[in-house]
Symmetry: C2
Subunit: 321 residues, 2 copies
């Protein structure tokens, strides 16, 4: 059985533990807080309830061991996941303690949302085994994880990390450049900043902004991202045509955020190229078909749930009848 | 039978026509382009295929009439939807032609994504019947629509517009302040700008950014918005505690977009208040339960679809078994 050491509990660490356990890994859990097992059990209960709803075939659950020390937890572990508070001096100190006891070929991953791997590695004697594996809440359900190695992490280690994360049902996205807050949180931050302006200026309420997402572009982004959505919207004229039309809008006073990248030819071409590669030969009609099938599936699913969103969609169904 | 006049076809106007028709309205359609009916029929075919999958009970489809002139289309219509190109002089000219023939108590709505209603109303003899009703693509499936009246539009007209939009299965969000690009597109624009930087700087590809959405925060935002997600993440300590922790991050160099609203006490309190109202007494545990149920429902639904996302999730299911 492969073994994961979870260092630092809370919502994130506990959900990492749950994900590893439900995918058959042995888990050794350490958190110095006296009630850390309460949070762990609460999260684990949720994971045990929901994960089998998504995945029909799960292996037998792994064994969980609560450990008194970091050394006990990490000795012999294949994967060490650090999820301590977001303060660099804490993380560096915990990572040093981890590396004092873990195997040299173990992968030591940090859940940090903000720090770059080279910051975490500073002062380490084995920086090459430390990387960022930043997940998204709820970690036991959402597949995404940002993997960020620095230049000193060997490619073999990165590939091994990707394979192990895939083994527990995750979708690793490996970023080839270090940047504070990685990628996902930067996008969230941009939305957050604009949303703060809109609320401050009295243009919209929190509920209106949330509704715009849950009944609008959130449904788009749950099954097509930003670029594939725009690609589809651009129609047969293509992504380049779409981008060239879009370009001038960046000069308009739409957001309060004004330091803007030039959408010059080089950037347009890069996006077109990446978008082409991403489409892998699928036509706009095929992309539309995927989009519609996905949206229908999600809307039907939401309707069947006894939730606010489901109740609303049910009401829509009734009022349309 | 209520009647809608659709002025301007294309993807948006054609999808408006489809939504009205499938919800039992009579539709009169006008677009001067010679092949506008080709686009219309293509979109209508999609709507006829997908909308009944979501809504079990639909009324008999309404009658569609292609009209040679704006006057023919709008005479006697209850609702006029203008979806012409995004140029103010075109829209003002078309709106004048619409108002020359439509009833004084018809609602004249514009699909504009950028212009404010007072801009559209400028020079009109009956500005009080013009408002913005900005939908999101695909209009026949996504329920959201931003309704933006200006100060001269009577409250009764706004309420009638909301009722009619609800009648065709939409979720109207009425904005009480005019602002260029309304709300949703400003949020999209903020993400878009940051995404452009990330691509320009070589940090991520279009596919990686899309994957972060489709396997990560897009799934969150499809069933909880920005604020309810953060409210849930904040846990029992509450939204205020969460915001106070979040505040300092706005000073960090996370985005390239630097003109930032101060997250001062007044703004914190406003958000807390709106978020409390939105939660309507539901505890964080209840919000978590809704979130998990929704995510499970969507993930299950996506797995069953023969799409890239579905295939990936199926693979996950298999590899976990």
């Amino acid at each position: 059985m492969p073994t994961a050491a979870i260092i630092g509990g809370g919502v994130i660490g506990s959900a990492w533990a749950s994900r590893f356990l439900l995918n058959g890994w042995e888990v050794r859990f350490h958190d110095p807080a006296p009630n850390s097992d309460v949070v762990l059990n609460k999260v684990l209960d949720k994971a045990r309830r929901w994960v089998p709803e998504v995945y029909d075939q799960l292996p037998p659950e792994g064994a969980l061991t609560l450990c008194e020390s970091i050394a006990d937890a990490v000795t012999g572990a294949d994967w060490v996941q650090e999820s301590t508070p977001e303060r660099l001096e804490i993380k560096q100190s915990v990572l040093a303690e981890i590396q004092a006891s873990c195997a040299a070929d173990a992968i030591v991953a940090s859940s940090t949302s903000g720090f770059m791997p080279s910051e975490l590695q500073a002062g380490s004697e084995r920086p090459e085994q430390i990387l960022v594996a930043h997940p998204y809440n709820p970690v036991y359900l959402l597949p995404i994880v940002e993997v960020v190695p620095s230049a000193v992490v060997p490619e073999e280690t990165v590939q091994r990390a990707e394979a192990l994360l895939s083994d527990i049902g995750m979708r690793p996205i490996t970023l080839r450049a270090e940047i504070p807050a990685h990628v996902g949180d930067r996008l969230l931050e941009a939305v957050w900043r604009e949303a703060l302006w809109l609320i401050k200026d009295g243009v919209a309420t929190t509920e209106q902004i949330d509704d715009l997402m849950t009944h609008g572009f959130g449904l788009r982004w749950a099954q097509k991202g930003l670029f594939e959505t725009y690609r589809t919207a651009g129609g047969e004229a293509g992504m380049k045509h779409f981008l060239e039309q879009f370009g001038p809008c960046l000069q308009w006073p739409w957001t309060k955020l004004t330091d803007v990248s030039d959408l010059d030819d080089a950037l347009i071409n890069r996006i077109v190229e990446q978008s082409d590669e991403q489409a892998a030969g699928r036509s706009v009609s095929e992309l539309e078909e995927e989009r519609d099938a996905n949206l229908v599936a999600m809307l039907k699913a939401l309707r069947q749930e006894d939730t606010a969103a489901g109740a609303f969609l049910n009401r829509l169904g009734t009022s349309s009848g």
